[in-house]
Symmetry: C2
Subunit: 328 residues, 2 copies
DNA sequence: GCCATTTCCGCAAAGGTTTGCTGTGGAAAT
DNA sequence: ATTTCCACAGCAAACCTTTGCGGAAATGGC
């Protein structure tokens, strides 16, 4: 069976294509009688507009691009799910691409977005991206780009982040409410904006408390975190371990379990997470919530804004809240 | 800045649009000299073909559709990641939609796929889908549909599954190698094809061992699994709990932890999983691996086949292997 | 130097929509 | 009865690309 088109409808009804087109969009120029005839026939023929033709003509697609380093990640997946959901509700479809943290693929993906004429893209930068020039073309074509999570430092772009500073501050405050004297803080890839922000905020918060020992380490993956943690714990058992992310947390948890340590008895734990992992364990691990879902919803809302009216580039923040498990 | 088009290039070079088009695709009709001039200019002008125009003309898009109940799921996310990766390598982009297990949304999503002229779709059926008629239109339009994971029972469709029967058999064999006398087997939504298959296979395997007590329960979510598990354990402590999926496993683990039980000492655990969750714990939980990644890769390969040559509908299986943790 | 190829390129249509403009018929206004 | 206006619908161009066909120039063979 071949597709039904405006042309086909127009031929059957003996009217022109333009009349059919207008009737279908309730254009006032078309009489009610004609309109109803058209709509009726369109329904029975199951007419579905050819998005390619529409987009070609209107230069305005109902397609959004979304790029993350990898889809299978505790945080991104909830972000993606949220964006997709809201997008769908607004008639948009989402094209999802992974960069694999490779700047080359990242720029190729941008090209794919352009070729498919997306009307906006969400980007979480690859951790290895130094050169932002591949994004220039997007700006030239006036395709809104909204960075999220790992964002560039430039101020002239749209970005939406978790309240990274605040969440680290929150963590610090929580720690300071307890008599912990030695802290091991594990962070992720130091190249990421979120790492920098969280680390700086945490350091800053302990500036006024020189008597507390704050040891900071980095790890680029769960495996690395596990190794680092093992190494650190062999030297000295801190009162509390603070994890910047789920990735780090996973490594730490493995170490702790392998060493037969019990939290909160032997050691306290605090992490930043969306909650999935921390809630798997018993006692649940106390975490500062960074919700991919909230971020996704906010991101989509902002994107809608950007697409409708030219908005000034801004940095939006999604708040962080504390979930009290039983790990400290 | 406006986009570069074939027309623009042709005007600058003073040649016709068709020549430019052919030159860009190395058509033998075009002289080397002209071709190089064109390609050179196209590069400096950063020409990017308008996918909409191309698709409109050729009726052959480089876009694939992928629908899952929800993206944020331990299994789907790896499947999606794998499909996306291979798709990208082959020049395809993937449009991802969620059904939220709502048949209505499912059929709307199919419509979206059609409108965007995808050249193939991967579908994991929503658990509530009874009526498959919304897929008819896809067949009529000759858009290949490849079902995965939760698939329809019809035999006339393309489907790709994990070796559900085999993985349950594997589980049964493993259990039988131990002296376990009472088994609690927890399954997911009984409406799902994977549930049915796994359950049938497990039951079947124990048919020949009537002296072993096999208790089967169902749960539609982690929370439900947790409740059911609590309830069951209060009545009687089995030697081993078998979990059909990560979802179930999560509930079971919570119960076990909350009850202060230790595995494998107090109770043994066995699950079917892609490994992410089982490896988080210590000892790691023994599981039959069902890799979303493998399934994704196989699915994409099959899709490529379907799109290139008309393939007969088949049911493909991706094998299951055992990962030995320390939970039994 | 003439005919037959070959080489290279352009014309034009097609794909499905959208939209500014034009045109028609009839009713209302004068 | 003539003009004015409005409601309604069609024409045609445009969006950008692909491709069958035809044609001009250049090449080759004799």
């Amino acid at each position: 069976m071949t597709n039904t088109t405006l042309k086909k409808i127009s031929e059957i009804l003996g009217i022109s294509i333009s009349t059919v087109s207008r009737a279908l969009k309730h254009h006032p120029d078309i009489s009610v009688k004609t309109r109803e005839k058209v709509i009726e026939l369109a329904r029975t023929l199951d007419y579905e507009p050819n998005a390619n033709a529409v987009q070609l003509r209107t230069k305005n697609s109902k397609l959004l691009g979304l790029m993350v380093p990898t889809i299978s990640n505790y945080f991104y997946e909830t972000f993606i799910a949220a964006v997709e959901e809201d997008a769908r509700k607004n008639g948009y479809a989402v094209m999802i691409l992974q960069s694999g943290n490779d700047p080359l693929i990242e720029s190729e993906n941008l090209k794919l977005f352009r070729q498919n004429r997306v009307s906006g893209v969400f980007v979480c930068l690859s951790s290895n991206t130094k050169d932002m020039s591949s994004f220039e073309k997007m700006y030239e074509l006036e395709i809104p780009v909204l960075f999220f999570d790992n964002v560039p430092q430039d101020s002239g772009v749209h970005k939406i982040c978790l309240a990274d500073e605040k969440s680290a501050q929150l963590a610090a405050e929580l720690i300071l409410q307890h008599p912990y004297q030695s802290i091991l803080a594990l962070f992720g890839n130091p190249a990421l904006s979120i790492t920098k922000k969280r680390e700086a905020a945490l350091k800053n918060a302990f500036q006024a408390h020189p008597h507390i020992s704050l040891l900071i380490e980095h790890a680029n993956s769960s495996e690395e975190a596990k190794l680092v943690c093992h190494e650190m714990l062999n030297k000295h058992l801190p009162d509390i371990i603070f994890c910047m992310s789920d990735e780090v947390l996973i490594g730490v948890l493995k170490t702790i379990q392998e060493k037969g340590l019990r939290y909160p008895d032997n050691i306290a734990l605090l992490t930043i997470s969306n909650g999935t992992i921390p809630r798997l364990f018993h006692p649940q691990i106390t975490y500062i919530e960074t919700s991919g879902e909230k971020l996704g919803k906010a991101a989509f809302a902002h994107m809608l804004n950007c697409m409708q009216t030219k908005t000034e580039p801004t940095e939006l923040l999604v708040d962080a809240v504390l979930f009290n498990g039983g790990s400290l």
